[in-house]
């Protein structure tokens, strides 16, 4: 790599890290998204566990039902909290400053990293609680981590792009779930299938490949479309 190219790459990486750090710093001041995500997932978890209880689902149906419920909780928690990263920029009118300060692809990557880390934090708290409260026995813990990581990454990438769209429209946060659900459905189906595989201890490789492909497709589409959505 030539010297100017290397310095450009370093500057771009610096911008990504700066956006990521800025988002976390702003988040830790109000903890708005963090609280929304955590409380939303906890209240839904409580609803699920009081409605069904650990014994409410018969053992033969557990593999089918429980992973689906887990991902539905995660999806709704993400829809409640993740659009915050862009809605906040529009509400405080800092979006213009951000447009001037960083290249669009760096903003997209930084925000995606922020969403992914936020979601990972929530998964870290929610999933052990879910497993304990629903008495779900996991055959392959590594498989579960892979399913949660790849599913969460896809959720973060898609949410970042869609939040950038929703934040610039009226209705903002309320618009986000309407826009996101049809696009997230394939991801959700794949993630549920992979989680089922982890619970049973048989990882379906084809599903994992499809999930990775979905994440990669979303990342490429995001990098191409985000500058068009972000720049006037």
């Amino acid at each position: 790599m030539s010297v100017p190219a290397r310095s450009a790459a370093r500057r771009w990486l610096g911008e990504v890290v700066a956006v990521f750090v800025k988002d976390w710093r702003a988040e830790l001041r109000t903890r708005h998204a963090l609280h929304t995500l955590l409380l939303f997932s906890l209240t839904t978890l409580l609803t699920v566990s009081t409605a069904l209880g650990p014994l409410g689902v018969s053992p033969s149906e557990r593999v089918g039902v429980l992973p689906a419920l887990l991902w539905i909780i995660l999806l709704f928690a993400a829809a409640a909290g993740l659009p915050r990263s862009f809605v906040h920029e529009e509400e405080t009118h800092t979006a213009i400053a951000l447009r001037l300060a960083a290249t669009p692809s760096a903003v997209f990557c930084g925000k995606t990293l922020f969403c992914a880390s936020l979601l990972a934090g929530v998964e870290l708290i929610l999933v052990p609680l879910y497993v304990a409260m629903m008495q779900l026995s996991i055959a392959s813990a590594g498989g579960l981590v892979v399913a949660l990581a790849m599913g969460g990454l896809g959720l973060a990438i898609a949410s970042t792009l869609l939040a950038a769209i929703a934040a610039q429209a009226q209705g903002r946060a309320a618009l986000f779930p309407i826009l996101a659900f049809p696009l997230l459905l394939p991801l959700l189906l794949l993630a549920i299938e992979l989680t089922r595989g982890a619970v049973e201890g048989v990882m379906p490789d084809a599903v994992l490949v499809n999930l990775v492909l979905y994440d990669a497709t979303m990342a490429v589409a995001g990098l191409m479309l985000f500058p068009l959505v972000w720049n006037p």
Binding site: L161, L162, I165, Q168, A169, Q170, G171, L175, I178, L179, F181, P182, L183, L185, P186, L189, L190, E193, N210, Y214, T217, M218, A221, L225, L228, V229, P232
Partner: protein, 240 residues
């Protein structure tokens, strides 16, 4: 008429009424579709293994689904064109195509559901094809909600076009992944199937193709009307 600064910004669009040739083509289209309807009920034979006359829905249900597919594809193409050229007319064309595609998709869903009630004894079966068309319905309905939620035409065009393109990107996963997830499908094999074999009686095939062509032409014809209406609206708004 005074061409002020507003009309200088908006490029001139053609809002003239359709020419005599177009009107004649419109009448020809009516005749064509009427013939297809007559053919569907009187000329084409019934398919085997279908309850009663239910196989005749083929000549309407399949063309509707096809027309909605053409409409959504056209909307995708116009959205890409808008993102490249930033011509407001491409944005209007995409919006009109989505509206019509949604209409055809609703018709296809309803007719399919009626047929499912006859053949499968249930309005809704969770069949992969039912799932994928309903997700398409929700997606394009969300597209229209997004259009309604943005005031500025330029921003609306950009956001909606990006959303439509994203839909095109995800569509293959919906078509290939969702059916794979289901363990079975009851839906009859598409006429143009993976085996590249057409196993339909020749009269049925003729009516089906004629009807599909008619519905596709109907889409483009109504699209022309709708686009003209949207152009007139846009011109009216720039004048005031």
């Amino acid at each position: 008429m005074n061409p002020g600064p507003a009309s200088a910004l908006a490029p001139a669009v053609d809002t003239r009424p359709p020419s005599a040739i177009w009107r004649a083509l419109g009448w020809l289209l009516w005749l064509w579709i009427a013939l297809a309807i007559v053919g569907a009920f009187l000329w084409a034979p019934l398919a085997q293994a279908f309850i009663g006359q239910s196989s005749r829905i083929l000549f309407f249900h399949v063309p509707m689904a096809w027309a909605s597919f053409v409409a959504f594809l056209a909307a995708g193409v116009w959205s890409v064109l808008y993102l490249v050229r930033r011509d407001a007319d491409h944005d209007r064309a995409a919006a009109a195509a989505v509206e019509l595609g949604l209409l055809f998709a609703i018709l296809a869903t309803v007719t399919g559901s009626m047929w499912a009630k006859v053949m499968w004894h249930a309005w809704w079966n969770g069949d992969p094809r039912q799932t994928s068309i309903v997700v398409a319905l929700v997606f394009y309905a969300a597209y229209l909600v997004l259009r309604g939620a943005v005031e500025d035409p330029e921003l609306r065009g950009r956001l909606c076009a990006a959303y439509a393109v994203l839909g095109l990107v995800v569509a293959p996963y919906l078509y290939f992944v969702a059916p794979r997830m289901a363990s079975f499908t009851l839906h009859p094999q598409p006429v143009v199937n993976t085996a590249a074999k057409v196993d339909v009686e020749i009269r049925m095939l003729t009516v089906l193709l004629a009807s599909s062509l008619g519905f596709t032409a109907l889409f483009f014809w109504v699209h022309r009307l709708r686009l003209r209406l949207l152009r007139i609206d846009a011109r009216k708004n720039t004048r005031t």
